[in-house]
Symmetry: C2
Subunit: 335 residues, 2 copies
Amino acid sequence: MATVKDVAKLAGVGSGTVSRYISGTGSVSRKSAEKIARAIEQLNYRPNSMARSLSSRRSDLIGVWVPSLEGPYYHMMIRTIESALRLHGKHMILANAEDAQSNEDRLAHLDYLINRDCDGILISSSLQSEFELATYAEKFPNLVVINHHTDELAGRSFSIDHDLGGRLAARHLLELGHTRVATITGRLSAQDARQRHHAFLDEMAKLGHPVPPKRIIEGAFSYAGGEQAVAALLATDADYSAVFCGNDKVAMVLIAELHKRGISVPGDVSVIGYDDVEFTPFTAPALSTIHAPIEEMSQSACHQLLNLTYGLDLPYQEHFEPSLSVRQSTGPYSS
Amino acid sequence: MATVKDVAKLAGVGSGTVSRYISGTGSVSRKSAEKIARAIEQLNYRPNSMARSLSSRRSDLIGVWVPSLEGPYYHMMIRTIESALRLHGKHMILANAEDAQSNEDRLAHLDYLINRDCDGILISSSLQSEFELATYAEKFPNLVVINHHTDELAGRSFSIDHDLGGRLAARHLLELGHTRVATITGRLSAQDARQRHHAFLDEMAKLGHPVPPKRIIEGAFSYAGGEQAVAALLATDADYSAVFCGNDKVAMVLIAELHKRGISVPGDVSVIGYDDVEFTPFTAPALSTIHAPIEEMSQSACHQLLNLTYGLDLPYQEHFEPSLSVRQSTGPYSS
DNA sequence: TTCAAAAATGGAACCGATCCCACTTTTGGA
DNA sequence: TCCAAAAGTGGGATCGGTTCCATTTTTGAA
């Protein structure tokens, strides 16, 4: 493989000039540029990215940490991030902490990224404690958090107003006449699950229809967790005409189970999800849900990370608002 | 940040000894090892991965090329690959060619990986022409292809017997008494879509119930393509009691559309998919499908790539067989 | 006890870029 | 035409590891 020196020699210039030509920084005369271009072509020269990284002290690598890769939620995120990074010539390396058993394990996954000398790190939070996030954020200035808001991380945390999202869900169900509703939440240790859940309950109560504990199931955001929670809900003798699910995955599981039992959606029970992932138009019936702008948020987080890390000036936005997306899984209450 | 030299000095040994200690190759006396370990601890030393890559001429980076990241199929692959690579201390970098307009564009995405000096490359094929694959495979010995079989790439291409898969689908429908079936295929330029499609048609014909052209819709494997194809199918006056979809995504779209039109599955129409992705247990009704061992195949491909690239000896398997997975979306024919 | 083979060692050369700096050439306003 | 400022240039030092090799130390069978 050819090196800068080979190119420089063939072009009859110094190695510094070749380097300047390639990186586009510094000035190179038209004449030199042409000679260099020809030499590069002739030698089929490609810069060695490791040598470049070593001497420039930047790897052009961005680490992305996610708590799981099950289901469409994180996939949409990954897809958006990969695309934004590639557009700017950066590469993503991924750490999926899904198989981590302990919190220590999860941090080990983060170290796996950090030891790789990433220029910047993107954490899709909701599971790490705020304390740990703050610790890492301090050590690591080029760190940005998706879907988690903390004041300490102002300008570096990107979030959706899940409080609003929870309320939108409550209002939608009440407007349809559902006063007795049930809900399946995610793990309440996660900020986003907690926010939407509390806001939902609060809004229901505020509007005169508090949700009693027997109609609240604390579940998880995975398919397996969803199945358990759905089974738990259907095993109670609670009486309800609508269910708010903490995410779309769980809503999908619920619809499938209701279908199996011959319970009509939305005829007998209305179901509303949260997130508005890829598949929501294609459940049967199509899922009414709270649209969370996951892709926009991910892109903003990416942009700001690139800004911090490489001194760019890409547009970004820290806070996003969810909106109601009504499809066919929710309908008016009929006794 | 501390360097090997700092460690060597503090430990009172030479830099070579430290290097040998860290990499685990070569021999280091117990006494030196202890001193080095102490020095590393004390200085909180972490090797610089770029310097290491430059001098050892290996980046520990594996490039992964996929034609798309929509839907669960490629994500299941990514998830498996990330996990296998992390287990062996390697990192994945991803190139999603989804936004590529031309074939040239798609190859540019491959170059994006190659220019990054990946030690090895994993291509999830089905879209690249065999010629291009062969060309790249020749240039690049550490290249492995998932879900595509070619004799030229013996030992480096991993595939599922989609011929068998197509036949299993046909037999299942016929056994249920469905003699008039329709099918929605993927793009037939892709090897995997072509194989299962032709085998399906062939098996139907062989068993006495050929599928007439009006009941064959060439679609795509995306949600949008699925919607179009489903619309096209439902717009014909073709008469059928079952539909074989080229993948689960399309089957899901079909079930949703049938539900919307009040057509019962499997009461009026049976639907069978292909792949057995994450969500198949959770459609309403749960999707009968051909189980393709995507995760096993991906892991094998990964293992063999690691073998080729780093001289390991991990177990792997080149060919996989699909199997029938019966759930609730297919049922006996009733006039 | 002896000594050849094996184990352990230190440090220089090297990987292939970038970046800095001292120096030369070009530019354009007075 | 002159000359200060700007543009362009060459090449050596540097980044922080690995690898090689000549040399020293240890090992254990005879």
